[in-house]
Symmetry: C2
Subunit: 242 residues, 2 copies
């Protein structure tokens, strides 16, 4: 049960000349259930009326789904040279699959010859280089990965690089290329295995997402917003309304 | 240019009997470029070696893309009765389109007769009811939306409900149902228009994502993690590595 307690400010007028205090603002704690219920009802109606008159501004259709992940895709070219790119248009597709919207990049060239890759998630500590791999193209920057400066190792289960500065990495294999054209495709890929640096494990042995200092992409103002604290439990907190 | 400055702790031994201070730990600021460069080099090599030996724990394939959005999908049934559901498997598909992985729900029943909907983004303030609409089914909970308690208005451009407690809402129209079966489909939808409550606009008149107190879904421990602060600029911060 939720216990209600609310403090409101009432204007109490004391008649002049009574020798008492001046007209003043005093804080009272509601004790009467009747007055309290009345107040709550008023508050609800007032809030609803307020929301009904909220002004909504319209914006033209654009890519403003919120928030967007900062996915770092790792691939090898046909000579085994590693590359990374940054993508925000993607998400979970099904229990064992992810989706990423891909343009035409060194990554698409690499996936054409080697359909395996890694996906890792950018963090506060990897922000600068994660942004860099999104603005420099592997097609015309031969030393791109040297400039990014990450420690690279081959993934254990797929032919793709793991960037060891990142807490968690999905090892993936291309499953489907939807609407493939010269300008790219929508990539659906199987998650083959998941790697997590042991420094980022919770006490139960599973990855601790809060520890990772993950960042998200704000597509409106083009900033990176860091994740904060866990503030609720899914499939649980809503039960109080059942 | 990044200016380097680092403070390290050196153990300075003062011989006994000099009448000076006892052997102690003193803080010194490196001034010598040679010593400093040597220290940096050591630090880099040490960090890289450390990363090379980082132990990575493997986990079986599961839906752990990070972080996931908390999408609230609003639809009307054939009688115009509103419904909402909660989905985390989705993302931006293209400049004017989003993707959501949908099971079989009241929402899919509603979209079959009326292919328009809204998508809004759960916040700290709407967490409990957002979780509730994910655990109660509109198919067997006739008063689901009363229990959620949101203020509902018809969207201006599509035949779907807007939940006014949320800062920003996409008005959407079904474009494609991929792999449709009895168990659901992957929904690709056109963003027709975007609504933002004027309380959540930045000074430039565009939505202020930081103000919204958005939450994300942590699929590992099933918690909701709130977004924190902007800590960087996309397409900008990476330029320092070019």
């Amino acid at each position: 049960m939720v216990e209600w307690s609310i403090t409101v400010v009432l204007k109490t007028t004391v008649p002049r000349g009574t020798g008492g205090s001046n007209p003043s603002l005093s804080a009272h704690k509601f004790r009467s259930p009747l007055i309290f219920s009345g107040f709550l009802l008023f508050k609800c109606i007032y809030a609803k009326e307020n929301l009904k008159t909220n002004i909504m501004k319209s914006f033209k259709s654009t890519a403003w789904l919120l928030p967007q992940p900062v996915l770092i895709i790792g691939t090898y070219d046909k000579e085994g040279k590693p590359n990374a790119m940054n993508a925000a248009w993607g998400g979970q597709w099904d229990m064992h699959e992810i989706m990423i919207s891909l343009g035409s990049h060194q990554t698409t060239d690499n996936l054409a010859v080697n359909p395996e890759f890694t996906v890792t998630f950018a963090t506060a500590d990897t922000l600068v280089a994660s942004d860099y791999v999104g603005i420099a193209s592997g097609r015309n920057t031969p030393d791109k990965m040297q400039k990014a400066g990450w420690t690279i190792e081959k993934a254990p289960n797929v032919n793709a690089p793991v960037f060891k500065e990142f807490p968690m990495t999905l090892e993936c294999r291309v499953k489907q290329k939807i609407d493939e054209s010269e300008t790219g495709y929508y990539l659906v890929a199987e998650i083959v295995n998941i790697l997590c640096d042991e420094k980022y494990l919770a006490e139960d042995g599973k990855p601790d997402v809060e520890k990772m200092k993950l960042i998200t992409f704000d597509p409106v103002h083009h900033t990176y917003i860091q994740l904060g604290k866990s503030i609720g439990n899914a499939f649980a907190d809503g039960k109080q309304l059942k």
